[in-house]
């Protein structure tokens, strides 16, 4: 299944560069119709994965939603990608009415990126707790995390404890060869918004 074959029915479909499986780009609004066509007429009956990519806050369109379909009869994968039109309030139509399994995948994409899936029956956070204020897989979210209230206000009132950012020393390391000074050549956390040399921003604990 290639972009050329889909073009007759969906003129908006274009080829997407890919290193392995066939891949197509499509407008966000056409997603449910295209995926329904692929499921019913082209044999891509298994929705393997739904996820999103954040291309960083400087890029527009910023968010791309990516679907991976698998055909149990042809043993082939297909990647379908759609850019979210609005960078500030990214949204795409849901496909949870086509595959029940899309429900949780879309909840996860919402939880991690803040992408809303229009028409989703139950769009709540799934991995983070309800009421968590951030979207952790967005590129501006620091690796160490941000201090937040714990989900239970009674526990917070009783203990005064909050969810604290991870200490950067001891975090995941990447050595940056550009500023390599052999005296301090320890590999550093890639996110260096604060560390031993650069003080933490005001207001954080």
């Amino acid at each position: 299944m290639t972009a050329a074959e889909l073009k007759s029915q969906f003129p908006g479909v274009t080829e997407r560069p890919s290193l392995d499986h066939p891949a197509v780009n499509v407008a966000a609004a056409d997603i449910p119709a295209l995926l329904q066509h692929l499921r019913d007429a082209a044999g891509f009956n298994l929705l393997a994965d739904v996820t999103a990519v954040d291309w960083s806050e400087k890029v527009s369109p910023r968010f791309t939603v990516v679907y991976h379909l698998y055909s149990t009869s042809q043993h082939a994968y297909l990647r379908v990608a759609a850019d979210c039109p609005d960078n500030a309030k990214p949204s795409v139509p849901t496909v949870s009415h086509l595959w029940a399994g899309a429900n949780w995948h879309e909840r996860e994409a919402y939880d991690m990126f803040g992408i809303t899936f229009d028409g989703h029956p139950d769009l709540r956070r799934i991995l983070m707790w309800d009421g968590y204020p951030y979207f952790p897989l967005r590129k501006e979210f620091p690796l160490a995390g941000i201090e937040t209230e714990l989900p239970d206000p009674e526990v917070v009132a009783e203990t005064g404890v909050k969810a604290r950012p991870a200490p950067m020393a001891g975090g995941p390391f990447v050595a940056s060869s550009g500023e390599m000074n052999l005296g301090v050549a320890e590999p550093r956390a890639k996110d260096e918004s604060w560390n031993e040399r650069r003080p933490k921003p005001e207001g954080s604990e």
Partner: protein, 408 residues
């Protein structure tokens, strides 16, 4: 006044109640022996019958995908151990192949064979735990003792190969941590030979056991259509009668050379899923023995990938060029081209997928882990409804999930 309840699940028993009863809500987990980790089930009960079940997950969320964006490809290998921590070797292999697909790198036959052997050993080990834990859940203690004795033997072999029993981190991008030690393949072969009769003995405790049959036959039936709609994979999908096995359908790492059968169920109940796992262990031993019989020689890492796989240690310590090469791989990471790949491997729990978006260099821009347990659990709200609370325990055991992978 009689109120008749018809539960949404078509296969479920219809309960007719004499009186309108008050619904009770029950939270099961996150620390409950039958939820195998930190799964929480928020249930609504009518007497002892489940009318609603809502899984609450995320208690073990560690942000693996965020972490992956901030480290080099090789540094992420230890994190893959902690996805499905019952089969770390299989996760290591799936991740390494995904990144190798990105680099369009083929590893030599010996490396592929070692990866197949270790992945199948991991499958046996994972299914043994699944079997033992499921048996305990439905009241048969003995199986657990037998299966853990066998797992211990496997752990000894893992330790001999990788230095670690549990978190093996065995693969590297473009190869392995090290070659197999002398005599190791013979020990694995000997393990398989003695394990197969023991497995039959273990299964005899369950397969025709009246109590076990009562607890599993006809319980938690998942239809073919539902299994596909919810994205189930692995033994749970095959138990429902869908013959999807990526080792057969899209062979990787040389699986096409080995003879093995794909076990599928007929009704999709808990008993079928148990039978499928039992048969998979036999087939895994068959694959291991074939791989050992024609164990290829030659290099065990990609020798033509100078920017991806670090050279042998003795060369690093004696030659300037190899020293620089090693330094660059350690500090900057294995160098990858820009692009997108998605690779799924047939892991013990289902298909583990890695979607990698690269902008070039040694660090992924985005790495998504498609966890089989996550998808397998999403069917719980559907499959639990209409069953007794004690049957929910049986369903959870037969779905055989791992929360480390589900929550990532």
């Amino acid at each position: 006044m009689a109120a008749e309840y018809t539960f949404p699940d078509a296969g479920a028993k219809n309960a007719v109640c004499e009186f309108e009863t008050e619904k009770m809500s029950l939270s099961m987990g996150p620390s409950h022996p039958s939820t195998h980790g930190v799964l929480r089930l928020q249930m609504e009960l009518d007497g002892e019958v489940v009318t609603k079940a809502e899984p609450v997950i995320g208690y073990l969320h560690r942000g693996d995908e965020k972490i992956a964006e901030n480290m080099t490809y090789n540094q992420f290998v230890p994190y893959t151990d902690r996805l499905d921590y019952l089969a770390p070797l299989a996760n290591n292999m799936a991740y390494a192949i995904a990144v190798e697909r990105l680099a369009k790198l083929e590893v030599p036959a010996r490396c592929q064979a070692i990866r197949v052997i270790t992945a199948e050993m991991a499958r046996v080990s994972a299914h043994l735990l699944g079997l033992g834990a499921y048996a305990i859940d439905v009241g048969a203690w003995t199986v657990f003792l037998y299966s853990f004795t066998e797992r211990e033997k496997l752990y000894r072999l893992f330790e001999k190969l990788t230095g670690a029993r549990f978190t093996t981190s065995y693969t590297r991008i473009g190869g392995l941590m090290r070659d197999v030690p002398p005599g190791w393949t013979e020990e694995v072969s000997a393990f398989c030979t003695q394990f197969l009769p023991l497995l039959e003995e273990m299964l005899q405790l369950l397969t025709r056991n009246k109590i076990f049959l009562d607890r599993s036959v006809g319980i938690g039936v998942i239809s073919k259509e539902d299994a596909i709609a919810y994205g189930l994979t692995g033994p749970n999908l095959r138990g429902s009668g869908v013959p999807l096995d990526l080792r057969k359908d899209k062979p990787y790492s040389g699986y096409e050379q080995y003879d093995f059968d794909v076990a599928i169920g007929t009704t999709g109940d808990c008993y079928d899923r148990y039978l499928v796992r039992a048969e998979e262990m036999r087939q895994s031993c068959r694959i291991i023995q074939q791989a050992i019989a024609k164990f290829p020689g030659g290099p065990w890492f990609a020798t033509d990938a100078k920017k991806i796989f670090a050279p042998p240690k003795e060369k690093i310590l004696t030659s300037m060029e190899e020293l620089i090469q090693n330094f660059m791989i350690v500090t900057e990471g294995p160098q990858m081209p820009a692009g997108e790949v998605y690779f799924e491997a047939e892991n013990p729990k289902g298909t583990l997928g890695f979607f990698i978006v690269s902008k070039g260099g040694g660090v992924p821009w985005r790495l998504k882990i498609r966890a089989p347990s996550f998808c397998n659990l999403s069917i719980l709200p559907k499959v639990c409804v209409g069953n007794m609370v004690s049957d929910v325990v049986s369903i959870l055991g037969s779905l055989d999930f791992v929360m480390g992978e589900c929550d990532r």
